[in-house]
Symmetry: C2
């Protein structure tokens, strides 16, 4: 008898699971900036020893999501307003270029997918889901760029500021503006106007940045 060789999805290691869970918690804001991540505590939560936890923390540190001081421990990274601003400036540069590359490669399927996220975004009442839908919308367009490295960097830079971006969407009128801007971006993509899509994406990110830094400065005062 000959069986199909099934590509058994190799189960993730404990370290991978811990890493993904912590990453998600940080970018969603479930873990606040400055919060102390105790190895022991996390290990108990995941029913493992501290070893996989430590590997996960090292990976998070490499991504800039946490910082570690020897013998003191690991805390969720906090960004200054200047740092947030710089990362948004960076995103504006990369993401506008990525969408410029994506537009000529967009097909009907992807456009439909993006339109779906657009509608989800407009129809979703629960603010805790806006951040994820926002990401999905942009990614569904960016994916067409066929630039895996660029997309990885986009993901990494967005990870760092996602907590702040979610706050901005929720706590200001960011959601309303984002919706309008998304529609304009989508229209430019549907028309095949890459330069306009790039220009609008850049403006969209810088708009969010201005709104967010104003909000942060207010908060801190």
């Amino acid at each position: 008898m000959k069986l199909e060789t099934i590509d058994v999805r190799q189960s993730a290691s404990a370290a991978d699971l811990v890493f993904e869970a912590l990453r998600k918690a940080i970018i969603e804001g479930a873990l606040a900036g400055g919060e102390h991540l105790r190895q022991d505590h996390i290990a108990q939560m995941f029913n493992t020893s501290r070893i996989p936890v430590r590997e996960a923390l090292k990976r998070l540190e490499q991504d800039g999501l946490v910082t570690n001081e020897r013998y003191k421990g690991t805390v969720v990274a906090e960004l200054s307003t200047a740092e947030v601003e710089e990362i948004f400036e960076f995103r504006a540069l990369i993401e506008s270029e990525v969408i410029r590359l994506a537009v000529p490669r967009l097909d009907a399927r992807r456009l439909d997918e993006a339109r779906g996220h657009l509608e989800d975004f407009a129809g979703e009442a629960d603010p805790s889901l806006w951040g994820t839908i926002n990401r999905n919308f942009h990614y569904s367009l960016y994916a067409a760029s066929e630039r895996p490295y660029h997309l990885q960097i986009v993901r990494s830079s967005l990870d760092r500021v996602d907590r702040y971006l979610r706050a901005q969407l929720t706590l200001t009128d960011g959601m309303r503006r984002a919706r309008q801007e998304h529609e304009a971006i989508f229209d430019a993509c549907a028309r095949g106007d890459a330069d306009e899509a790039a220009r609008l994406t850049r403006a969209h990110i810088l708009d969010a940045s201005r709104s967010l830094t104003a909000f942060l400065e207010n908060r801190r005062r």
Copy 2:
């Protein structure tokens, strides 16, 4: 009595030392692509247990310098020609923008430093040092941009392709062309012409990319 409070430089952890050593070996090409990194072997080389080695390998994996398969091990990452090309395309985008931001902030000290690296580059006979001098030249200019996040990404993307870039400098006429292009970039910076410096930097990186991909395609045939 009052003593000067000296900032005792906290000794790096074993994991940090291993990480830096392996990183250096990979970007310099001392460890070839595809090479298997055995935890045990590395641990012995550094006189430690495997624990810090594993943490270092996790960090390298996060940076894309190595890849890991569960229970199989960690190997030095190998990039396809397409991947190398994409990373150079990315670098052209970022580094041209970084130097545009840097030019208006360049002062005499930094320009002198860059000129020094330029002369080092021209005068150095040992090809194994060209890669590092090349990096130093560009960094001394980029540093003025005052964009720590951008610089970190520049470092990370260059790390991934540095092995290949060094090969291109050494094994083709890349060195000669790089020297000419560096001089042109430096002149534009010294004149304060940010747009021209950005344009030349972009061309410099894309030129190296073309030369390198041609070289790699030849090699693989």
